[in-house]
Symmetry: C2
Subunit: 331 residues, 2 copies
């Protein structure tokens, strides 16, 4: 029979295609690649089961490889569906499972059912898919680990005038160092990088490498948040303007500082946690819940792209002036 | 109410999402952007009408702008659906209609329903979406018009190791020079560029610019044909190997030449037409019906990408040897 590898699209259970839905209904076993599943609506697995009227088995990314045999078991005699949020092949993550199906004996036919992914949704920014260079992923920095090889890739794109889609990091099924050292298998709450942290890391990396192709006030960007969902939010502006959207006003900052100063019992760690929570709340107020991605606009910006992207400009943005002066986009 | 701009996905009427299907059913008028519609299955409009149980209005690309007012008419009081094959915003073609809806008074809310496009389907080549640079479109050359600015864009990608998706030209609703000069409005049969012509033009442009980044025997490529359809065909190899797949054998070539020589009544124009028909038949035998696209593989090829792409190698292909020797892809 067939191993169906099916994209679920961007936002919720109704983003599957009619073809994908039929394939699911024809399948004896249905796996959901769970790394991405938590990105969607709450209770996603249950919503799928209700829609499909069938049980759905969670397959964790790190175990798909180990469990490939059990996933493929019986696929020679009955259809099996493997569901992936977005498009199933936008990263190479699942090619191993597919290769294994093809190489098994007897060989299991594989059918890919594509769907929209964030790489498709970039069109909603108004920028043409044609004008994008390579996509980068920006990982969470920690105190002592700040990888920034992605910066040079943004530079490669910008130097030839191309736009860049920057995907923000997601941490799921993460264990604390403490738990690991004690041998306790317990996962931390999932973490998602939001627009302000994404931009902060980009600007910080740009400063530390003294690059000339990225500038807080002269580089345009477009925040793409919860694309394809009911809460989709698109905001354009300079990098600094987008960052400022989630900064406290002077008054707020003073009030918070006063509050922290007054709380003499709070430890430095507690205060840090409190500040992080405030920053997160402000980021979510400005840009909504995760997932967030960012498009960094390249110099080949076309007037049609500019006009559409400018319709999402944040209040008092200099988007059009920067497009004219720094991007020479004048028509 | 809402203007729905809905992607229909890659291949046939069942590639619409459940969400898109519901939006269509809730719409009072349904437009189909017809430029792309002919790319799909025969009788596509009728198949949509049967599935939707509603009439579908064809909107020609060149008239969408002119007819925007009539498309948007009534959208303030009833839902209107505008259908586009693939993803509706992968090119900027429809941003004008969307901007106009937003700017009309009262403003018409717009909802984009994304779907897979050829830019998503590249994942089926085994290459990671992350490693692609800009996409290029290769137009049909004529005797006296051979634009090749796309070559430098392929070069920009290859110089930084990135893959390139090359889209082949489509000519629909084309008029002959003769008809135009006589004022006759009559359209030629649609024309689609097939893999052999696409590769021939790429190699010809590379030769005439003496570029060092593209070589028939040392550049790998992957032909993506009718992606997402039942007749999907993926073939990988060097550019020359893919080209050779549609070349006549020596014996065939001799037989055809003899046939042409024997036909003393045929004019040179007739012979040219006959040769073109033979070339087209061979191209379709090797790669199937259109649409065809080509991925040109960049030097940043990862071993996982290589293994998957190599599973589609044409008979006797040197894919793995070239990956090792020219791409330094050795693991």
């Amino acid at each position: 029979m067939v191993l169906f590898v099916i994209g679920l699209g961007l936002a919720d259970e109704h983003d599957i295609t009619l073809k994908g839905f039929e394939a699911v209904k024809s399948s004896e076993r249905i796996y959901l690649e769970s790394y991405t599943s938590i990105l969607m609506v709450p209770g996603f697995k249950e919503r799928l089961e209700k829609l499909y009227q069938k049980p759905v088995i969670l397959a964790h990314r790190e175990t798909v490889e180990l469990e490939a045999d059990s996933i493929l078991q019986g696929a020679a005699t009955a259809n099996v569906a493997f569901l992936v949020v977005g498009d199933p092949l936008s990263a190479t993550t699942h090619t191993d499972l597919i290769l294994r199906a093809k190489q098994s004996s007897p060989s299991i036919p594989v059918k890919i059912i594509h769907n929209a992914s964030i790489m498709t949704a970039i069109g909603s920014s108004g920028l043409a898919g044609y004008n994008f260079g390579q996509t980068v992923s920006v990982p969470f920095w920690s105190e002592d680990w700040k990888p920034d090889s992605w910066l040079e890739r943004i530079g490669e794109n910008l130097r030839i005038g191309l736009h860049t889609l920057a995907l923000s990091d997601i941490k799921v099924r993460e264990q604390s160092a403490q738990d690991m050292s004690r041998g306790i298998l317990r996962y931390q709450d999932p973490r998602y990088m939001l627009i302000p942290q994404l931009i902060s890391q980009i600007l910080s990396a740009a400063r530390s490498h003294s690059v000339d192709y990225l500038h807080p006030d002269h580089t345009l960007a477009i925040a793409l948040c919860r694309m394809g969902s009911e809460e989709e939010r698109i905001v354009s502006g300079t990098l600094q303007e987008l960052l400022d959207m989630a900064n406290p006003s002077e008054q707020e900052a003073r009030a918070e500082e006063a509050e922290d100063d007054a709380d003499e019992l709070a430890s430095e760690a507690e205060l840090d946690k409190r500040r992080a929570a405030r920053a997160e709340a402000r980021a979510k107020k400005a840009f909504g819940e995760p997932l967030h991605s960012l498009v960094i606009v390249g110099k080949r910006l076309h007037p049609l792209e500019r006009d559409y992207a400018a319709s999402y400009a944040c209040p008092a943005s200099k988007f059009l002036a920067v497009a004219q002066d720094d991007y020479a986009c004048k028509e």
